[in-house]
C-alpha cells in the first residue's frame, strides 16, 4: 500500500450532511489504508467512517487535529475501485461524501461490526408444525402467532426477523420446540446453497445472436437488450452468466424490485449451479451483511439485488446486468438520489466489464445512447417458443354505459375467453374501493388535512386512507358539513372492481393483487401461485401485476383506465404510460394461444395511444424522442431539480428565490431556470413544497454550476429553515 508505512494523517468520510471530509491523526503512525473503517471522535459523539486517503501531511494545525480512536479494519473493507465509484457518485450527484459512503454499506458495517459471516440461530416449522392450525391454540396466543408467521417463512426466521415483528418470545419458542412443531437450527442467513435442476430451453436465433455478441466481447461494452415481452430476455441473462461463471468471473444483476419477481429468482436458482446471494431491503441486517461479505470475498459468484446492490464490492467482476432498465425504481427517490443503472454503467467502464441493459420498453435515454452508437443494440423481435405478440385494441368508452367501470364490449370479451377456459387479467393502477368519498347531498369531499389530496375509501377495512402521507381514519358515519349519512364512493379502485367482478362472474374466482392484498410476507407468492395454477380465472391488479410475471393461461388483458397519465404535467408521463401499457399487455398470450388486449379510453384519437397501439413501442419511442429534441428535454438536455419544503408556505419559496439569484450569478446563458414554482401537489404530509428546475444542453456546464452552487447553498442561513434536496437527472419532475 502506498503511504501506509509513512501515513500520519487520514482523511475520513463521516456520515454527516456536510460537503467535506475530515482529517484525523493516526497513533501509532501507519497501519490503516484507504478503504479501512475507523472510529473517530466527532463533536461529543464517536462516529464510524471510511478512510478516503492517508497522507503524511495535513492542512490543520497540530492542536486542531484529533487522533483516530480505533482502526476497525486491518485490511481495507472497500477495494480501490469501489472507493472510486463512491467518490465519483458523490461528485456527480453533488451529495455529501460521508452520506454516500454510509448509504453504500450494510447497516452492521456502518455500526462498526466486523465484516465477517456469522451463523445465527433460526427457527423453522417442522412437518408436524405445518399440520397445526394456529387458530386452535387459543390459550397460547404467542405460540399461535409464531406458528402463523413461521408458516410464511420456508427458510425459517432468526431472532432479528422475529423481533422486528415483535414475535421474539424465547419461552414460546422453547415450548414449540418441545412440542416438536418448530425446529431450532443454526444457519448462515443470507447464504443458501445452489439448487440447480432446471433444464435449458433451446435458444432462438435472435437469442443466440445476443448471447454470442456478449460472449465475444472483451472488456467494457454496453449492450441494450431490446426484447419484446416474452422474448426470453431472462434466458439470455442466464447464458451470459454461465459464460461469466465458466470464465471464473462474478456477475452482478440489478432488478427494480425483488419482492415482485419471485419467478425470476426461482429460475436463476434452478439454472445456475453457483453460489448466489440476494441483496434487498427485505433482508435482516445479518442476512444482508453475510451476503455482502460473501460477494466481497468472492464466495458468491452471482449477486442479485435492488438498487443499493450496485455498491457491492466484487473482486472478480465479469458481467453486469440491469433488468427492466427503464424502471424508475432503479433511481433512489430520497436522501442520496442516485440512479443504480447509471452508476453500474460507470462502474462497468471503470472495471472494464461488459454490461447488459434489458427491457421490453427501453428508456428513451438508452434508446438515444444506442442510436448514438454508445450502446450496442441487441434485438429480440419475437416471442420465445410458439407464442405470438398480443393484439392491442382501443376501446372507445365515450358515452358508453359502464357497469361499475367496465364497458359492455370488455365484459362480453371476458365471457368469451372465460368460457374457453382461458384466464383474464384486468389492470387498474388504483387500489382501494374508490379514490374519493363524497356526500351525495351537499357535495362535500373527504380531503386529507395534511395534503392537497382526497382520501381513498378502503371499504374492506372501513377506513379512509391518504395515499400520499399514509394518514388514516375511520369512515365517517355522516357528512361533517350537512350531517347526511348518504356518503358515497366516487370512482373506481381495485376493491370495487373486485366486487363488480364477483357479481358479474359468480362462477369464476377472482384474485385481487395489489399492495393491500399482499401486505403479509408470502401472500404475493401464494396469490401468484394460484394465478399460475389456473385456480383463479380472473386476475385483477395494480402495477404489481405488470412486472415480469408469466401467466401462460392469460389470453385477454383489459386496461381499465389509460387516460390518467395522458395529461400529466410531468414530461416523462407519456413514456411511463407507454411502458406500462406494453408491460401489462405483455402478460397476454405468452403460451400457444394468442392474446388480446383491450384498452378502455375516453381519448381514442390521442396520437400517443394511436401510435403505440398501431405501430408499437419502437415507433412510439421514435416520435417521443423527436418531441424531446424539439422541446430540448432529456436526453437532449441535462436536468437537475432543487426541491424545498417547510411547514410554512413562504419559506421554501424564499429559499429557492435566493438560490435562483445565487445560481444566476454563478452561471452563463447556457443554463436555464424554470421556477421557483409550487410542486404539483404543493402540500404533502403537512409540508409545503416548491421546486426550481435547472436545465442545460451541456451536462458539463450544469455540473460546473452545481459544484459551486450546492455547497454554498448548504451553508446559507436560509437552508437551515427548510428541508431541501438536489435531484440530478430526476425521474420525476415533481
Amino acid at each position: 500500500m502506498p503511504n501506509q508505512s509513512t501515513a500520519t494523517y487520514v482523511r475520513v468520510a463521516l456520515p454527516c450532511p456536510l460537503y467535506r471530509s475530515f482529517d484525523y491523526r493516526l497513533d501509532p503512525v501507519g497501519g490503516a489504508a484507504p478503504g479501512c473503517r475507523v472510529r473517530v471522535p466527532f463533536g461529543r459523539r464517536s462516529l464510524v467512517g471510511v478512510i478516503l486517503e492517508s497522507s503524511p501531511r495535513t492542512e490543520l494545525r497540530a492542536d486542531q487535529i484529533k487522533p483516530v480512536s480505533e482502526v476497525i479494519d486491518a485490511r481495507p473493507l472497500l477495494p480501490p475501485d469501489l472507493l472510486a465509484l463512491l467518490h465519483w457518485a458523490a461528485g456527480y450527484y453533488h451529495h455529501p461524501v460521508g452520506e454516500v459512503f454510509a448509504q453504500a454499506l450494510p447497516a452492521l458495517l456502518r455500526q462498526g461490526r466486523p465484516a465477517a459471516i456469522e451463523q445465527t440461530r433460526c427457527w423453522q416449522l417442522s412437518p408436524a408444525g405445518r399440520a397445526i392450525d394456529p387458530a386452535g391454540l387459543g390459550r397460547a396466543p404467542r405460540q399461535a402467532a409464531l406458528l402463523a408467521w413461521l408458516a410464511g417463512c420456508p427458510d425459517g426466521a432468526d431472532r432479528e426477523q422475529l423481533q422486528a415483528r415483535d414475535l421474539y418470545r424465547p419461552d414460546a419458542l422453547k415450548a414449540l420446540v418441545a412440542k416438536g412443531w418448530v425446529k431450532e437450527l443454526t444457519a448462515t442467513p443470507g447464504l443458501t446453497p445452489p439448487q440447480p435442476g432446471g433444464t435449458a430451453p433451446e435458444l432462438n436465433p435472435a437469442q443466440a445472436t445476443a448471447v454470442q455478441a456478449v460472449a465475444e466481447h472483451t472488456g467494457y461494452g454496453c449492450f441494450l437488450l431490446d426484447g419484446v415481452t416474452g422474448s426470453g430476455k431472462t434466458e439470455v441473462y442466464i447464458r451470459a452468466i454461465e459464460q461469466a461463471l465458466a470464465a471464473g468471473r462474478q456477475t452482478l444483476l440489478l432488478v427494480p424490485e425483488i419482492g415482485l419477481t419471485p419467478q425470476l429468482m426461482q429460475r436463476l436458482r434452478a439454472r445456475l449451479a453457483a453460489p448466489l446471494v440476494i441483496l434487498h431491503s427485505g433482508l435482516s441486517e445479518r442476512e444482508r451483511l453475510n451476503a455482502w461479505v460473501a460477494a466481497r470475498d468472492g464466495a458468491a459468484r452471482i449477486v442479485v439485488g435492488t438498487r443499493s446492490a450496485v455498491f457491492t464490492p466484487l473482486p472478480e467482476p465479469g458481467l453486469f446486468i440491469v433488468d427492466e432498465e427503464h424502471d424508475p425504481s432503479l433511481k433512489q427517490q430520497d436522501g442520496f438520489r442516485y440512479s443504480a443503472r447509471d452508476l453500474l454503467i460507470w462502474r462497468a467502464r471503470q472495471q472494464d466489464v461488459p454490461i447488459l441493459l434489458g427491457s421490453a420498453t427501453p428508456s428513451l435515454e438508452s434508446l438515444y445512447n444506442a442510436d448514438q452508437g454508445r450502446y450496442q443494440r441487441l434485438h429480440l423481435p419475437s416471442r420465445a417458443g410458439t407464442a405470438s405478440a398480443p393484439a392491442l385494441k382501443l376501446l372507445d368508452i365515450r358515452g358508453q354505459p359502464l357497469r361499475e367501470g367496465l364497458a359492455e364490449p370488455l365484459i362480453g370479451a371476458m365471457h368469451r375467453h372465460l368460457e374457453r377456459g382461458e384466464q383474464v387479467l384486468l389492470f387498474l393502477n388504483r387500489r382501494g374501493f374508490a379514490p374519493t368519498l363524497i356526500c351525495h347531498e351537499c357535495g362535500w369531499v373527504a380531503a386529507c388535512q395534511r395534503c392537497d389530496s382526497h382520501l381513498t375509501l378502503h371499504q374492506g377495512r372501513g377506513r379512509l386512507h391518504c395515499h400520499h402521507c399514509d394518514a388514516s381514519q375511520p369512515v365517517p358515519v355522516q357528512c361533517p358539513e350537512c350531517g347526511s349519512p348518504d356518503l358515497r364512493g366516487l370512482g373506481y379502485g381495485t376493491e370495487r372492481i373486485e366486487q363488480t367482478l364477483q357479481a358479474l362472474f359468480p362462477g369464476h374466482t377472482c384474485l385481487r393483487i395489489d399492495r393491500d392484498s399482499t401486505r403479509r410476507k408470502g401472500q404475493l407468492e401464494t396469490l401468484l401461485e394460484r394465478a399460475q395454477s389456473g385456480e383463479a380465472q380472473i386476475l385483477l391488479g395494480t402495477q404489481m401485476l405488470a412486472k415480469g410475471h408469466h401467466f401462460p393461461g392469460v389470453t385477454l388483458v383489459g386496461i381499465l383506465e389509460a387516460d390518467q397519465r395522458l395529461f400529466s404535467s410531468d414530461f416523462r408521463a407519456s413514456e411511463r404510460l407507454a411502458q406500462l401499457i406494453v408491460q401489462v399487455a405483455g402478460r397476454a398470450g405468452r403460451a400457444e394461444r394468442p392474446g388480446t388486449v383491450l384498452i378502455q379510453t375516453h381519448h381514442p384519437d390521442h396520437p400517443l395511444l394511436r401510435r403505440l397501439v398501431g405501430e408499437g413501442y419502437s415507433a412510439f419511442a421514435e416520435a417521443a424522442l423527436a418531441e424531446r429534441r424539439e422541446t430540448a428535454l432529456p436526453p437532449y438536455a441535462s436536468l437537475a431539480l432543487l426541491r424545498a419544503e417547510a411547514t410554512g408556505r413562504e419559506a421554501p419559496r424564499e429559499f429557492l428565490e435566493q438560490a435562483h439569484t445565487l445560481a444566476q450569478q454563478l452561471s452563463g446563458p447556457e443554463i436555464e431556470f424554470w421556477g421557483p414554482v409550487p410542486a404539483p401537489m404543493e402540500k404533502r404530509a403537512g409540508r409545503y413544497r416548491a421546486q426550481l428546475l435547472i436545465q442545460s444542453p451541456e451536462r458539463a456546464a450544469l455540473h460546473r454550476l452545481l459544484r459551486h452552487w450546492i455547497p454554498t447553498l448548504a451553508e446559507s442561513p436560509a437552508a437551515r429553515r427548510i428541508r431541501w434536496s438536489l435531484d440530478v437527472d430526476p425521474v420525476d419532475t415533481y
Binding site: L437, E441, G462
Partner: protein, 108 residues
C-alpha cells in the same frame, strides 16, 4: 329552530332499493305517489305529486326495503333537497316513521 314536518300518504310507485353507506348505515330509497283532494280558496281541487323517500338507519331502512310497488304507506318526516347538483328545486322526504296502510286501490 325552524320547523320542518311532513305527513303524507300515498302508494309506492317504485319499490325500495336498499344499500349501505360506506360506514355501514343501511339506506333505503323508494318513490311515493300521492293523490288527494284538498280545499283551496273555498273550492275543491286535486293534489298530485311524486316524491322520493329516504329511510336511513337500522330498522327503518329494512322496513322500507320490504315495501313493494302499490303498497299504501303513511310517511312522516322532514323535507330536504335531494342533492347539491340539482339545486334547491328537487326535494326528498327523509322518513322518521313509515306505516304500512295496506294495498290500496289505484288512486287515479
Amino acid at each position: 329552530m325552524a320547523r320542518n314536518q311532513v305527513l303524507i300518504e300515498g302508494r309506492v310507485s317504485r319499490a325500495a332499493q336498499l344499500r349501505q353507506s360506506p360506514a355501514g348505515i343501511p339506506i333505503a330509497r323508494f318513490v311515493l305517489d300521492h293523490y288527494s283532494e284538498q280545499t283551496q280558496a273555498g273550492m275543491r281541487r286535486q293534489s298530485r305529486l311524486r316524491i322520493a323517500v329516504i329511510a336511513a338507519g337500522t330498522g327503518l331502512a329494512e322496513q322500507a326495503g320490504r315495501l313493494e310497488r302499490d303498497d299504501g304507506v303513511r310517511v312522516s318526516g322532514f323535507l330536504s333537497r335531494a342533492d347539491s347538483r340539482s339545486g334547491d328545486q328537487r326535494l326528498v322526504i327523509h322518513a322518521e316513521h313509515i306505516e304500512y296502510t295496506g294495498l290500496e286501490g289505484s288512486g287515479d
